[in-house]
Symmetry: C2
Subunit: 194 residues, 2 copies
């Protein structure tokens, strides 16, 4: 068993030993909120938004993008489990700003192992064992966070399965300060809070 | 401004005021781990697995399913940011066990507002303003968690863009006890830890 797996199971044993009343929380989020944010390791949505177990649905993917799968999750969140305020939260220094569809599919075509990055960009350490499947995926990379947040709020707002009764807010999380910055008409053309 | 939005911003101000050294964490996950789990409000992966800011990528969607979008995120996680141990964690009492593609697309066709559930199943409170778009989505519902975890671990394991050097573990989180239960050959046919 790996060291990490041992550590995770030990931490879980400790968590479960103090679980108490958390064991009887209901399924629907108590504060009727859903957060869509990035998978980035520096982000802890429960901590940065002041939420605890039972409060909120949390949907995360690379970039915090409004992918079809994120919209699947959000529609279930409102339609079946009653959330009515949604936060779309991208962040500064996001990995999704460091590459393009062409760059990642090129890297994957050479090999599947972890690449390195320096001032000249991404490069592989070897060149065998890759797959050309990467070219068929839209990786949903980001050029500018203020733009991607607005695009994603708008895509969700205009989706035919999203009720107009749901409020949707757009934010950027600053990984250096821990602050949430609302993205609104003042920062980009187009209304964010809808 | 909604009460919830005010509360979130106040909580964030408090979080940012004690951010300290977290403001200089690097982008790659320090413990080289990624977790794919459900958006359910009762789950806090950082707490149940003993992780803190900077440690792990966290990917979440309805069910914790190995959707195309989750795989997009996992491939980025390993190829560009170096994670090499992945956890797929579904959970007991999951909302995804309460409906089928036909049920949710039928409910959405009637209206987009939150439905209710009782012993007779899901039903809408009104019948206007819906959309037939739901029938074009695969909602990735779950019949049995032990089966869905195995299916998802296998889908990821066999994906052409996933390196064989990544370890993949399957677990169920028990929402009543807070415990992680490993799903292995002993619980279902098929090897999970690969």
């Amino acid at each position: 068993m790996s060291n990490l797996l041992n550590e995770v199971l030990a931490a879980n044993k400790n968590y479960a030993s103090g679980f108490g009343e958390k064991g009887s929380l209901p399924m629907p989020p108590g504060r009727k909120v859903a957060i869509l944010t990035c998978m980035d390791a520096r982000l802890d949505p429960a901590k940065y938004a002041g939420l605890t177990e039972g409060d909120a649905h949390v949907i995360r993917n690379a970039g915090g993008r409004a992918s079809d799968d994120a919209i699947r999750s959000l529609v279930i969140s409102h339609k079946l489990l009653g959330t009515n305020e949604w936060f779309v939260i991208h962040h500064t220094d996001c990995g999704m700003e460091t590459f393009t569809n062409e760059i990642i599919s090129g890297l994957l075509k050479e090999n599947l192992e972890t690449a390195t990055i320096d001032r000249n960009g991404w490069r592989n350490l070897k060149n065998s064992g890759g797959s050309s499947e990467g070219q068929f995926i839209n990786w949903l990379t980001i050029k500018k966070q203020e733009v991607s947040v607005l695009e994603d709020v708008k895509r969700i707002r205009n989706h035919p399965l999203v009720s107009k009764s749901v409020s949707i807010y757009g934010f950027i999380f600053d990984v250096n300060s821990g602050k949430l910055i609302e993205i609104s008409e003042a920062t980009e053309a187009g209304k964010v809070r809808t």
